[in-house]
């Protein structure tokens, strides 16, 4: 599926090409934001810089797409909204090995996966409490 970008969004796709998850950080009040926007909805500043999100987060919600087939992903395809520890919510695909099922509250880690045809991160469960 062709990507539709603009001057507001280009930094995000450039980040993906470098295997980085980038969001915007307001230069004035330091608030993180996504999806991309030219202005900070908190303080109105037009000044921002890309900010890399790394590490872990907690599943806020998820769905499992079964039908219809998707061009770039095998189905069933899990999608999750994840509250990253860095303080921002991200959407991403999720890879889980059965019999583990996706669940709200699950701890996950974002990683770039060379197996995917599109350069995009996915979430993987953080296996045990010890792994924290």
């Amino acid at each position: 599926m062709a990507i539709h970008s603009s001057k507001d969004y280009d930094f995000f796709y450039a980040g993906l090409a470098e295997k980085q998850i980038l969001v915007q950080r307001c230069q004035q009040c330091e608030k993180l934001r996504n999806p991309p926007s030219p202005a900070c909805a908190s303080c109105g500043s037009l000044e921002w810089a890309p900010f890399e999100i790394r590490g872990r987060g907690t599943v806020n919600s998820f769905t499992v797409h079964h039908y219809p087939p998707l061009a770039d992903f095998p189905v069933p395809h899990i999608l999750a909204l994840v509250d990253m520890d860095a303080g921002i919510r991200l959407l991403g695909g999720m890879h889980i090995a059965p019999p583990v099922e996706p669940a709200i509250g699950m701890r996950v880690q974002a990683r770039f996966d060379d197996a995917l045809t599109t350069p995009v991160y996915r979430f993987y469960p953080v296996p045990t409490k010890a792994a924290e």
Partner: protein
């Protein structure tokens, strides 16, 4: 009450048949529905001086106006956000009529949604530039269908309220029960059971096939004019008590899930406050409701937001026959978009008018005020109409 209350009325309704393949152009469907609506109230094309539709409608105003043989068009507007805008053309029409901007406004929606461009597919609509950008931003992860987008807030809703799949099934079964006696409905003579629902295949967890509305070809049109003029026409007027549109901080077309509270309740509650407040009514004044059912589970947060039960309690409210004919609040007595057809909410508007006139297939006695809602999980709208 605001200055809009009871100033305008729906005088006429018209529709085509609902099918999976209409065999004719969307433009022809629009014209047929508009002609039927004008015939219904006894007006002619030369009386029409306003048109309202959805931004997603493929039939442009002048082409429609020329096709029906109109003379002078004084008002035309379109509403965005798909089914979220379903009731908004009525508000725009009522405002145009109440202010004297136009005398007679036709609201229409005509589409070959099943035989043409199917909304259920992973597809890129022709949307405004900024909407295309957010679509792409999520599509790269594989979030590409309306079902999967709306499933995210509803899975969260289940987590917060304890609602289960079986509870959502009540809405799905009620819709097909109502549709089973409606000859215009896809589910005519085809009621389903809760077992049928639970056995239907997953589309986008937690949505099953029987949670999804009917992809449809068809058109519906309604004629809005002043209350005074409507009283001289063929049918009993259905007065527009109030109308409202709403988006709030962080709203977005099915992807407004970056805010703390992205329950599809949020925008509905904003519409509800203004609908009831502006009409001087309370939920207890409503005898039946058309609750937008793109996906059956979406009815739950709507029932709560529009004040029929407390937040999080729809799972109990929908039980014991409460939402079927004879219950405390029968909803979608025509079968809704799950059971009758999906004309982007406009077939629900037509049903509301029939209920007020006493012309419905599944007629509810003594309907004085009916609530009509629009798609939730995105900027939405609603109206209360009454007799």
């Amino acid at each position: 009450m605001t200055s809009l209350t009871n100033k305008a009325a729906i005088a006429g309704i018209g529709s085509t048949e609902f099918s999976k393949d209409s065999g004719r152009s969307e433009m022809q469907l629009a014209v047929e529905a508009i002609q039927a609506a004008l015939n219904d109230c006894g007006l002619s094309a030369s009386d029409v001086d306003g048109l309202c539709t959805y931004t997603l409608d493929n039939n442009s105003e002048c082409h429609v106006f020329n096709a029906i043989g109109g003379d002078e068009l004084n008002f035309f507007s379109r509403v965005s956000y798909g089914g979220g805008g379903a009731c908004a053309p009525l508000l725009h029409a009522a405002m145009a009529v109440a202010t004297g901007t136009a005398k007679t406004v036709v609201c229409y929606r005509a589409m070959n949604e099943r035989s043409g461009l199917r909304f259920g597919k992973p597809t890129v609509f022709q949307l405004p530039e900024s909407e295309m950008l957010t679509f792409s931003y999520h599509a790269i992860h594989g979030l590409q269908t309306a079902a999967a987008m709306f499933a995210l807030p509803m899975r969260r809703y289940m987590h917060l309220t304890g609602a289960q799949s079986e509870d959502f099934g009540e809405v799905s079964v009620a819709a097909r029960f109502h549709a089973s006696t409606n000859p215009a409905a896809f589910f005519y003579r085809r009621p389903i059971t809760l077992d049928d629902y639970m056995e239907s295949r997953m589309i986008a967890d937690p949505f099953r096939l029987l949670d999804c509305c009917q992809e449809s070809d068809g058109a519906v049109a309604v004629v809005v004019t002043s209350a005074e003029r409507a009283r001289d026409l063929k049918q009993r007027p259905a007065y527009i008590r109030s109308g409202a549109q709403a988006a709030s901080r962080g709203s977005s077309g099915l992807v407004g899930f970056y805010r703390d509270d992205y329950d599809p309740w949020v925008e509905c509650a904003q519409v509800a406050r203004r609908l009831y407040g502006n009409a001087g009514l309370i939920p207890q004044d409503i005898q039946t409701a058309i609750i937008y059912d793109h996906f059956a589970p979406g009815v739950f947060p709507a029932l709560e937001a529009y004040g029929f039960c407390a937040r999080g309690e729809a799972k109990d409210f929908v039980k014991n026959g409460n939402i079927v004919l004879g219950g405390q609040l029968p909803i979608n007595p025509h079968g809704g978009q799950l059971g009758e057809a999906y004309i982007h909410g406009m077939n629900g508007v037509a049903e509301a008018v029939r209920q007020l006139r006493g012309q419905a297939i599944n007629q509810i006695n003594g309907v004085e005020n009916i609530l009509v809602t629009s798609g939730n999980g995105l900027p939405t709208s609603g109206t209360i109409i009454g007799i």
